[in-house]
């Protein structure tokens, strides 16, 4: 999952985040290549930050499902002592 996240992050943010038409407009407005780079970096940062923040919230919610998932997986038949969810 971690590797997928990294791969997806790079692809998503560097590929899908680029908007060629918007870049063309900005060039017409007189933005230099350096400023264009900074604008793209800001896009990636904004979207990445938003996605990561929501993802952390989602991870916190998913932690509530951890004990059920571990028990359902049959890794431990009847855990003694009972399982407790451990936040990473």
């Amino acid at each position: 999952v971690d590797r997928d996240s990294v791969l997806g992050l790079l692809t998503a943010l560097l590929g899908a985040m680029r908007d060629v038409r918007a870049e063309r407009d900005l060039i017409v407005l007189g933005l230099s290549p350096r400023q264009l780079q900074r604008e793209l970096r800001a896009r990636v940062l904004a979207a990445g930050t938003l996605g990561t923040a929501i993802g952390l919230l989602l991870a916190a919610l998913l932690t509530r499902l951890v004990v059920g998932a571990v028990q359902a997986a049959g890794a431990v038949a009847v855990p003694d002592p009972p399982l407790v969810a451990i936040a990473p």
């Binding site: 999952v1 971690d2 997928d4 996240s5 997806g8 992050l9 692809t11 998503a12 943010l13 590929g15 899908a16 985040m17 908007d19 038409r21 918007a22 900005l26 933005l31 400023q35 900074r38 604008e39 793209l40 800001a42 896009r43 904004a46 979207a47 990445g48 938003l50 996605g51 990561t52 929501i54 993802g55 952390l56 989602l58 991870a59 916190a60 919610l61 998913l62 932690t63 499902l65 951890v66 004990v67 059920g68 998932a69 571990v70 028990q71 359902a72 997986a73 049959g74 890794a75 431990v76 855990p79 003694d80 002592p81 009972p82 399982l83 407790v84 969810a85 451990i86 936040a87 990473p88």
Partner: protein
């Protein structure tokens, strides 16, 4: 008529041909686009290839995990549990022997051990069991049964006039046993290495078992021909050599063999079918452990595929616009998009399957399993091919939907479907086999992805408004994101889902690891736990405490723990509680404590448990070199058995028999053990003779009336050892259990002993007789304590007042769900053999 038909066919064909040509045109365009610029589909193909390869890897790993689980289950079986045994009741001739061996040979089982076990028989006044085990040598693994100084051939053949045997259990006290027509000589001692051949391992204190290496000779002893016997042929297969996918076949063969034995033939077959079934169940359940991680990763890869396909949506739209301008119909446009999705998915599925097969082979090699076998039981199966075909159809549908459908509708549909599945999982997840509970996290992520996708646009627009006073570059970036939010929203959803699932995966792993550690510490408490051996020898009888400490190594803690039961009157009933005597200082060394496990931290509880004064009043010391212990005894109303509990230098208790006290006063004697001293006289025990106990037990069990009550007076005089008087006065001694003090004289004591089946104990007064023993117990037991937190326990027949100084929700080695528990200081354990 034929001409008209032919004309109609030609007309219909002419009408269909333009339709086919119309459908062929988009396909030709797809082929041309693929030839012209195949890399345009690189990212979707890569995403789908990885997803398929990952799914293949999960499928192969499932098979490997199942095989590991099955083999772990089978590896935990002892030889008796693995044994395949053919049994014949009664005397077996050569024909029966051949049939039994042929049956096991047909099952492909390894070396067979033949045994004959006779019912108990009285020889020279001793009740013994005689058995034959062949071959009896150590070379036969693992069912070759006897390990000893004399085996098989060297013991010799069993003949009526001389049948040499090994004594592998109990004691006989003589070297030859006789009955009319048979003479059995004990050639040496041995021990059974496993319980498989005879179905049990005799204990050192149990009924004597005599084993010969000559089955035929034992079976043919004419003097014992009337003794009932069981003939067995035992084979112990190495079940760990079986793979999970071979278990069903092996079990089927065993079941068929069992069914094929006619009841009238006298042979019966017992086999480890339950163990095989259990192993198969474990193998079947093991793959489910991969579902959360596998499902999560597939959800992320599905999101990646959607994201990558969305990146090509604009290119597709441009191409479709061009086709529409050239006069293409709606059907041709759909056919164009779906055909492109189909070939992309086909290439990716094929590449993913090839990559997955390679991954599966690598995983199998890492697990030391044959790659071909793993593949043929995971990927290269009909269900594997069907799953790949299904994956291709789903991929075509997903890519086609991304290319043709509205993004918002797709996200809505995805979110609604995932939310519905999640609701179902959370509702019935605990009621089924748990599969839905395992899929809940990935489903929750997909539902969240849909929500995030729809909400991201709003959030980005909000961000743009919020940044109006900020730096121009930030404003430009947020304006750009808000102006065209679809691709950024997809990216945000993808990052959110990836992060959420990564967090879940880490939490899953941490929870699983912590659970395993907690279970281990619950089962052991420290690094290792040493308990009684198969013949009930206690750790301190096997080695001294200092020897255990030396074995544990420098810096290691060795805690001597006394484990027994106590009864407690609670809520109008008597409850049996497990009781542990744990050294108070060792409480903090026990691992696996959780914050909420005790009413206070372990160090505080240990302080409360620590004794406030001497914990034990020692008994008189037996002088060094004393060989005998003597005691003047008399029991005017009937015979009782007496024994002395001697505490050795290492704390181990050795019970030595003083014989019986009868109406005639006499001097009872016991031999003081030569090693393990110096000893102290810890206590004297009084019990009914074994025969009387058994008789009383039968009478009381079968008689509906109340149990018979009677008492016997027992007079004890001076105790001496090595010519020295050990007990000058009995005044400081207390009788507990079934005994009570009736009176004391200058050098004697009179006891009243109740014939209740329980022993009576005479011992020096102990500090615990005067003040309560501090204990920790579970909250429910503590709630039932009397004033001052006192619990009136009966431990090993002795009354002990305990005082609750803290509560515990759990304690290592005490099973959950049972009644309470009370760890306390070991030195205070009655009997003191901690």
């Amino acid at each position: 008529v034929d001409g008209r038909r032919r004309a109609a066919t030609i007309t219909a064909g002419a009408q269909r041909r333009p339709e086919l040509r119309a459908l062929a045109a988009p396909l030709q365009l797809v082929a041309a686009r693929a030839r012209c610029r195949p890399t345009r589909w690189l990212w979707p193909v890569l995403g789908l290839t990885l997803a398929v390869a990952f799914a293949c890897g999960v499928a192969a790993e499932s098979t490997i995990a199942g095989d590991r689980a099955a083999r772990a289950t089978l590896a935990a079986l002892d030889p008796l549990q693995r044994a395949v045994t053919v049994t014949y009741q009664g005397p077996a001739g050569a024909a029966v022997d051949r049939r039994a061996r042929a049956l096991l040979a047909r099952l492909g089982l390894p070396a067979v051990t033949r045994t004959v076990l006779l019912n108990p028989v009285r020889l020279s006044g001793r009740v013994v069991r005689l058995a034959g085990v062949e071959p009896a040598g150590t070379a036969v693994e693992p069912a070759g049964a006897v390990v000893g100084p004399v085996v098989g051939r060297s013991v010799g053949r069993c003949r009526p006039r001389a049948c040499p045997v090994l004594l592998v259990g109990g004691t006989v006290g003589q070297r030859a046993l006789r009955a009319p027509g048979v003479r059995i000589t004990i050639a040496g001692d041995g021990r059974l290495r496993s319980a498989a051949p005879l179905g049990f391992v005799p204990t050192a204190h149990g009924q004597p078992l005599l084993v010969s290496g000559d089955v035929t000779g034992v079976a043919a002893l004419p003097a014992l021909s009337s003794v009932y016997r069981t003939d067995s042929w035992v084979s112990v297969p190495r079940l760990t050599g079986l793979h999970s996918w071979e278990l069903a076949g092996f079990e089927r063969r065993l079941t068929r063999a069992q069914a094929g034995l006619a009841p009238a033939g006298g042979l019966s077959l017992s086999a480890p079918t339950d163990a095989l079934r259990s192993a198969r169940d474990r193998a079947g359940a093991a793959p489910r452990r991969l579902l959360p991680a596998g499902g999560g990763a597939l959800a992320v890869l599905a999101m990646f595929l959607i994201l990558a396909a969305y990146g090509l949506r604009r290119d597709q739209q441009v191409e479709r616009e061009r086709l529409r301008a050239a006069g293409a119909r709606a059907g041709q446009l759909v056919a164009f998009s779906l055909a492109e999705a189909a070939w992309v998915a086909a290439v990716a599925v094929a590449a993913g399957a090839a990559l997955g097969i390679g991954v599966a082979a690598l995983l199998a090699a890492q697990a030391d399993l044959p790659a071909a076998a793993v593949l043929s039981h995971s990927l290269l199966t009909a269900s594997g091919a069907a799953a790949l075909a299904g994956g291709w159809v789903i991929a075509v549908a997903v890519i086609g939907a991304v290319l043709l459908a509205s993004g918002a509708r797709l996200a809505d549909g995805l979110a609604v479907a995932a939310a519905a599945a999640l609701a179902l999982a959370l509702t019935v997840g605990g009621g089924n086999d748990g599969t839905l509970a395992l899929l809940a996290p990935p489903l929750a992520c997909l539902a969240a992805a849909g929500l995030v996708y729809r909400a991201a646009g709003v959030l980005l627009r909000g961000g743009e408004r919020w940044s109006r006073g900020g730096p121009p570059v930030i404003r430009l970036a947020l304006v750009g994101l808000a102006r065209s939010p679809v691709a950024p929203a997809l990216a945000v959803a993808f990052v959110a889902v990836s992060t959420g699932l990564a967090g879940f995966a880490l939490g899953y792993r941490a929870t699983l690891q912590r659970g395993a550690v907690d279970e281990a510490t619950q089962a052991v408490g420290l690094d290792a736990r040493v308990g009684e051996s198969a013949d009930f020898a206690r750790p301190l009888e096997m080695a001294t405490a200092s020897r255990w400490r030396a074995l544990a190594g420098p810096g290691s803690r060795v805690l001597a723990v006394r484990r027994t039961d106590a009864s407690l009157p609670l809520n109008g009933d008597t409850t049996t509680l497990p009781v542990l005597g744990v050294p108070a200082v060792g409480l903090t060394a026990i691992r696996g404590w959780r914050a909420g496990d005790g009413s206070a931290p372990p160090a505080t509880l240990a302080q409360r448990l620590a004794p406030r004064g001497p914990v034990r009043t020692p008994g008189p010391t037996v002088p060094d070199g004393a060989r005998r212990l003597t005691l003047r005894v008399q029991a005017p109303q009937g015979e009782v058995q007496l024994s002395a509990d001697l505490r050795g230098a290492q704390g181990a208790i050795t019970q030595v028999a003083l014989g019986s006290a009868s109406p005639r006063p006499h001097l009872a004697r016991a031999r003081v053990p030569g090693r393990g001293g110096p000893y102290e006289l810890e206590a004297l025990e009084i019990a009914l003779p074994t025969g009387v106990q058994a008789l009383n037990g039968h009478q009381n069990a079968e008689n509906p009336a109340a149990a018979t009550q009677s008492t016997t007076t027992v007079r004890l005089g001076a105790v001496s050892a090595g010519g020295r008087s050990l007990v000058g006065s009995w005044r400081g001694w207390r009788a507990v259990g079934a005994a009570e003090v009736a009176g004391t004289a200058r050098a004697g004591i009179t006891l009243r002993f109740a014939n209740s089946g329980q022993p009576g104990v005479l011992r020096p007064r102990q500090p615990s007789d005067a003040r309560p023993v501090p204990v920790l117990t579970d909250p429910a037991t503590a709630a039932g304590a009397g004033p001052g937190g006192e619990l009136p326990l009966t431990v090993d027949g002795e009354p002990v007042t305990a005082r609750v100084v803290g509560t515990l929700r759990r304690f290592p080695t005490i099973a959950a769900g049972g009644p309470g528990f009370g760890p306390r200081t070991a030195d205070r354990a009655p009997g003191g053999d901690a």
